[in-house]
Every structure is written in structure tokens, then in C-alpha cells.
Amino acid sequence: MAKRDLPEINAGSMADIAFLLLIFFLVTTTMDVDTGISRKLPEKQDDVEPPILKEKNVFVVTVNRNNEILVEGDTFMTVDKLREEAVKFIDNGGGFGNPIDGAEPAECDWCEGAKDPESSDHPNKAIISLESDRGTSYGTYIAVQNELVGAYTILRNRLSEKLYGISYTQLLKDNKNRPSESMKEKIANIKAKYPQIISEAEPTK
């Protein structure tokens, strides 16, 4: 009996309810993407003799507790100069490098540096050593790390541009979107020519 004159529910306010929910989700949504500097920590090893290195092949960057940057133990430097100096050091190519795939040690024929005999021999021998203090501020530490990684990016981009006509950053991006064997080979080649060797010393107390 009652069924007969059941009125239709008014759906006009449905839009209002949906709007309310929509606004709630709009406000609470955070579309943040996590970005950062990726590093790989060295594996824990016991009793490994540190390899003998020539002093000219090591680029020592020291950051003290007052956030001052000292390069090679004698020059104070601001962060914005650091990248340029690191590029100069890595790209120097003043001698013979470590043998690649058992071949004879060869000169760096892709380097465009000054070939100063007092600076690094070869990109695969050039080591950047970062020493920090426990009291250094994290902001400065990240800035220094960023500049050192940036130096490698500059060199890799330049080499990739020369060899393949496309920057290394773009190469990585393309490889992610459409991975292919030839692309992987190119990336590996660039990485081998400018290997990223950043060593971190135990901080001073």
C-alpha cells in the first residue's frame, strides 16, 4: 500500500555532497615527489690496506665546523667555485690512467684539461676526498656533495654531447622511458670514462 506513493528521492543535492568531498580531498592531497641526492655507502670491510695513492691524484676537500671549505689543504674556497675546481682536477689528464680491460695504460684522449703534471693523471685515477667535521652543518655538507656530483655531471654531459650528440642527463632520461641495449652501452661507456670516485673520510671530532 505504502509502496504505491513512495516519492522519488531528490538527487539535486548529490552534487553538493560530491563537491564537499571533492574539496576535502583536494585540500588534503599532497602531490610531493621525493627528490634527493643518491649515494651508495661503501661496504664494511675489515683490515683492508688502503691503496697507495699519489698525492696529486687526490683532491682533498675539507669542511670545518665553521662551514669553511678548504681545498687541497691550502686554499679557502666558496661553494660556488668548487664545481669549477673539481672539473679542472678530474679533467686534467696529465698522465697515464689505470689499465682498462687489461689494455696498456693509456692517456686520457677525451680530456680537455690543462695536462698539468702536478694535477691528476687520469679521470679513473682522480679521487675526490671529502673530509668533514662532526659540527659541520648539514646544509653546507649537502651543498659540497652537490657541487662534487655536479662536476661529474658537467664532464659526462660534455663527453656524451661530443660522442653521441645528446647530453648524458637526457640519455639517462631516455633510457628510463624506452630502455634499450644500445642506450645502456652508451651510458656504461660514459660512466667508465668519467667514473665517480668520491671518498668520504671519517669526520674529525
Binding site: 599532497t30 621525493d34 634527493g36 641526492i37 651508495k40 669542511v63 646544509g139 657541487e147
Partner: protein, 154 residues
Amino acid sequence: MSKFRKKKKGMPAISTASLPDIVFMLLFFFMVTTVMRETELKIMKPKLPKATEVKKLERKSLVSYIYVGKVKGQGGDKIQLNDRIADVKDVKYFIFAERDTHPEDEIPLLTTSIKADINSNVGTITDIKEELRNVNALKINYSTLTGDVMDNIK
């Protein structure tokens, strides 16, 4: 001309009947994409440093977060793991717990993201890194914003 005017007069009102459908569509989009924050910050929100050589973190399910920052009214850097303030020594248990929630083959891919405040001490970060090395969790990411590094130093 008179014909034109007549046509204009007869224009019907645009129907709003499909408006709820459109709104619902948007609503579902936002409902699906929304990620509710899993952990509540016990420390003061860390002011992340800026950097230019940043990489995007892919596959968020493989990332575990360590927060470093200050607590209101207390000195020194504090480390937050999950929902509580913890000691450096707890980092390894945190990593073990994270590993338990992932299948065996994904363990080498696990990344630890360090979200540290710009004014933290490097010493605290080094202690965390040392603990991570002890448990062989070697992939790390210093969480940063994209921007000019000179802003970090001011």
C-alpha cells in the same frame, strides 16, 4: 537579420544534469591519488636543504625514511624512526623491520631516505650512515629540494 534574432531567443539553457558526474569523476581521481601521511612527525618539520643534482625516488614502497631534526625545547639533533624518537642504535632494528615487510629479492633494492634538517650536524648523519653500513643497507638518498645550493649556506 530578423531570422537570426529568432534563433537566439530559442536557445535552451545548458543542462546541469551531468554536473554531478563530472564532480564525481574528479572526486574519484583525488580519492585514488591521495596518499595519507603514514607517520606523524614528532620532531619539528625538517627544513630540507636544496640541491641541483637531484634524482627522483622511484618506487616509494621500497623507500624507508629516517627523519633528523630538532625537538621543541630540547637541544641536539633527534632521530625519528616510524612514530617515535629513537636512538642511533635503533636504526638497525628499524632496517631489519623494514626488510621483514619485503620479499627476499627486493631487499637489495631497499633505499633509505634521510630527511634531515638543514641545521643538523654532520656527526649525527655520519652516525646513522655508520649504522646503515653495519647492517649492509647501502643505498641511501639525502632528501633535498630542487634549488640553488647557495641558499643552504645563509
